[in-house]
């Protein structure tokens, strides 16, 4: 392609421009749009896959999911056109570990990236990334744009991918526009008959971390009084059961946390208002990519998958950011759309699903077996209504703070989620947590001290032992002391 050629879009008028979002919605809903007459881009057995991932997005931070405090028209169109999951969890609610799992289908203790520091080393060589797997086993073109963080935050050297644009440090405010624009341009200018797997990895709403750094002190007067009526309410679980592991109390009292600043309700609500603006920012960038897909040759044969790497505290249990196993950090939005093939307008609120299910699901849609030793399973039967769905009785998520200098495992935690309960255990803390998720979905009452639930706790610990003994730990994780979980 001649870089000096003018790839000029036709001049469009204001009305068409502003209605681009609505047009995109219609196209997704009908699912019947075809562009051009290129049979090579319409292979049912090898659909294109567009994987869009945000950072630090709370599962409820989507307006179509019933949240009136923000406007996310582009996530909404995915939500309404596809199948979303309300019980979807990340494997470890912090960047490097969960991203290593998302792109391999293995737990962080297996990928070798069990801590959120680049000092933990590189991805285990023996474990393929989904990019490598789809390239070699299914002939996909695999494209990456944006934040990687496995463990380098931004790099052009990503195993199994052609990187078209890396991010800009950890600033979504600047980075996301360049990433979404690169993806949009690539989709509109692509000249390749192979199916593609494209990752659009956006940083927002992670920029809330910068906002928190700058806004620790409590303010009793709103900086912008005009927004007073727009401030969201505090969450239902703002008040919490104080009987919790000491790690959580310690995390709240660290220097940059709201408790240090003595936040009162007004400041908490102002933080929520700002957080939602960050989510709206990334929603707009997602719209750029979706609109480009709609206008490309690939609209009718592309599976779109949307998720986030982990969640965000959002004032639940008076937490911010992530790094703990309450649902606000451990749950993530997860939406699949594929008009005519994935059920539309569905919310699956009963299946327990995890980000480790993504790799086998991608492989299933691509018509190939997944890499060996997958921790998750394909969600395709749940999405299409075809075939036998595997009913997962439980799933596990981790947290490991670790000592950054020695890399010895510390502040290690596990979460076991079954249909009815959630059990959280910190290895070196005698205070564990059990929540009745059917009757107390906001996790407000810790039942672990109630002897009536001793057998429930015993069952969950047995599940955890079974799970940990199934995993193939990375050698350096076992050497750091992590294999203690096999005998919990």
């Amino acid at each position: 392609m001649d870089p000096n050629a003018d790839h000029t879009d036709p001049m469009i008028n204001r009305r068409q421009f502003l209605q681009a979002g609505a047009a995109g919605t219609a196209l997704l809903a009908t699912g019947g749009l075809t562009y051009g007459d290129s049979p090579s881009v319409h292979r049912k057995d090898k659909p294109n896959i567009l994987f869009i991932m945000t950072d630090q997005q709370h599962i409820n931070a989507i307006s179509a999911a019933g949240n009136p405090h923000l406007h996310t028209p582009n996530m909404d169109r995915l939500f309404r056109a596809g199948t979303s999951f309300s019980e979807s969890y990340c494997p470890q609610p912090v960047c490097i570990p969960c991203r290593s799992s998302i792109f391999t289908g293995r737990m962080p203790t297996e990928t070798g990236m069990w801590m959120n520091t680049a000092r933990v080393g590189q991805l285990e060589e023996s474990i393929p990334t989904i990019g490598e797997w789809l390239q070699t086993e299914a002939g996909y073109e695999t494209i990456y744009a944006g934040k990687w963080h496995v463990p380098q935050c931004n790099t052009y050297d990503i195993r199994g991918f052609n990187t078209i644009c890396s991010g800009l440090n950890h600033y979504g405010d600047i980075s996301d526009e360049l990433v979404s624009r690169a993806c949009a341009s690539y989709l509109l200018q692509r000249d390749d008959v192979r199916p593609f797997f494209m990752v659009t990895s956006l940083v927002q709403s992670h920029d809330i971390c910068h906002w928190l750094n700058t806004n620790v002190p409590n303010e009793t007067v709103l900086r912008y009084p005009e927004i007073a009526d727009e401030l969201p309410p505090l969450p239902p679980n703002f008040e919490y059961d104080r009987r919790e592991p000491k790690h959580l109390a310690s995390q709240r009292s660290t220097r940059m946390q709201p408790h240090v600043g003595g936040w009162e309700p007004l400041q908490w609500r102002y933080y929520l208002w700002n957080y939602y603006r960050h989510v709206e920012m990334v929603d707009a960038e997602i719209g750029r990519v979706l609109n480009a897909l709609d206008r490309s040759d690939y609209a009718d044969n592309t599976l779109i998958v949307f998720t986030s790497d982990h969640g965000e505290g959002m004032g639940c249990h008076q937490t911010v950011r992530k790094g703990f196993l309450y649902d606000e950090a451990a749950k993530v939005p997860l939406i699949f759309t594929f008009p005519g093939r994935v059920r539309g307008g569905m919310v699956d609120s009963s299946s327990l699903v995890s980000s480790v299910d993504l790799t086998p699901t991608f492989c299933d849609f691509a018509g190939i077996a997944p890499p060996p030793d997958m921790c998750g399973r394909s969600l395709r039967p749940l999405l299409t209504g075809e075939g036998k769905a595997h009913d997962t009785p439980y799933l596990v998520a981790n947290y490991e703070a670790g000592a950054a200098k020695t890399l010895q495992a510390q502040d290690m935690a596990r979460m076991v989620r079954t249909k009815d309960y959630k059990y959280i255990l910190y290895y070196d803390d005698e205070t564990d947590q059990l929540f009745d998720m059917k009757n107390d979905p906001w996790e407000t009452k810790n039942l672990s001290g109630d002897t009536r639930y001793a057998s429930v706790i015993g069952e969950h610990r047995a599940m955890l032992r079974e799970w940990e003994n199934r995993l193939k730990y990375a050698p350096r994780y076992a050497a750091a002391g992590g294999d203690c979980w096999r005998n919990v």
Binding site: M1, P3, A5, D6, H7, T8, D9, M11, I12, N13, R14, R15, F17, L18, G21, H71, C153, N154, T155, I164, S166, G167, L168, N169, H170, Y171, D173, I174, S175, E177, L178, R181, A182, S185, Y186, L188, Q189, R190, D207, C209, H210, W211, L212, N213, T214, V216, P217, E219, V221, R223, Y224, E226, N274, R277, H278, E280, M281, D283, A284, R288
Partner: protein
């Protein structure tokens, strides 16, 4: 600022609290004093302005210098129109650059509403060539009025023509970086503040911008209506001639080029 709360920047060891403002940026060494205005400078006339773009996470000694923005205004032959030329360079962690070049024809109304624009987005390889797979030129033309419109770069120009008065907010849809529409935007005068300079306190005026899909933005103009800085909670634009931090090496030839054109 009379009638409004003004958070005094607080330096607490490693961190700088409070919204970014020229005063807080000077306190942490990002900027010095602003240069004297050019004689005859007129916000309605021909001018150019060069800004340094920084990202700040709240840590005093941790900035990410990400780029340069040059705006050039050409007053139109028709009384109420003008052209705005935009050149923005952003660098990433691998020292690759992205270049936006835009030519926007604007109405001379309060918001500098766009009549038409052409945007070339170039992802530059380490060798400086535009990557053809992701670089692209797009254009747009307005065909009718359906509510107030502005462009994000156009607002840098528009605030320089706004009066220093508390008036009802201007309400509009914004085209961010020209092609990302964001509705329900509001721009209004926030108030006057002082900026400590070596020559004594200097008056600045602040305009605030709120809306869907943005975190609040504040624009700071001097008594001559010259824009000197623009901030949100993470991103800062400051006049390049006031920036104190050394420019990253990869941007130095870019700066030389922007200064010469």
């Amino acid at each position: 600022m009379s009638g409004n709360n003004q958070t005094i920047p607080q330096k607490s060891g490693f961190y700088m609290f409070g919204p970014h403002s020229p005063e807080s940026l000077k306190a942490i060494g990002v900027i010095g004093d602003f240069p004297a205005i050019e004689p005859g400078w007129d916000p309605q006339g021909n001018w150019s302005a060069l800004f340094r773009i920084c990202m700040i996470s709240g840590r005093v000694n941790s900035f990410y210098q990400s780029g340069l923005l040059k705006l050039t205004r050409h007053a139109g032959t028709q009384a109420q129109d003008f052209r705005l030329i935009v050149d923005r360079y952003m660098k990433n962690e691998t020292d690759r650059c992205h270049h936006h070049h835009a030519e926007i024809v604007c109405h001379g109304d309060a918001l500098g509403s766009p009549v038409s624009w052409k945007l070339t987005s170039s992802y530059l390889t380490p060798q400086g060539a535009a990557d053809p797979n992701v670089s692209r030129t797009t254009s747009w033309k307005d065909s009718g009025s359906d509510g107030a419109l502005a462009t994000s770069w156009g607002l840098f120009e528009a605030v320089q023509r706004m009066p220093f008065e508390k008036l009802p907010a201007l309400e509009f849809t914004m085209f961010e970086t020209l092609d990302l529409p964001k509705e329900n935007q509001r721009l209004s005068y926030r108030g006057k503040l002082t900026f400590p300079t070596d020559g004594g306190p200097m008056a600045l005026h602040c305009f605030q911008h709120l809306g869907w899909g943005i975190i609040p933005i504040e624009y700071f103009v001097d008594d001559n209506h010259r824009l000197v800085a623009c901030t949100n909670s993470a991103r800062v634009y400051v006049l390049e001639s006031a920036a104190l931090m050394p420019l990253p090496e990869v941007l130095q030839p870019v700066l030389a080029k922007l200064r010469s054109t």
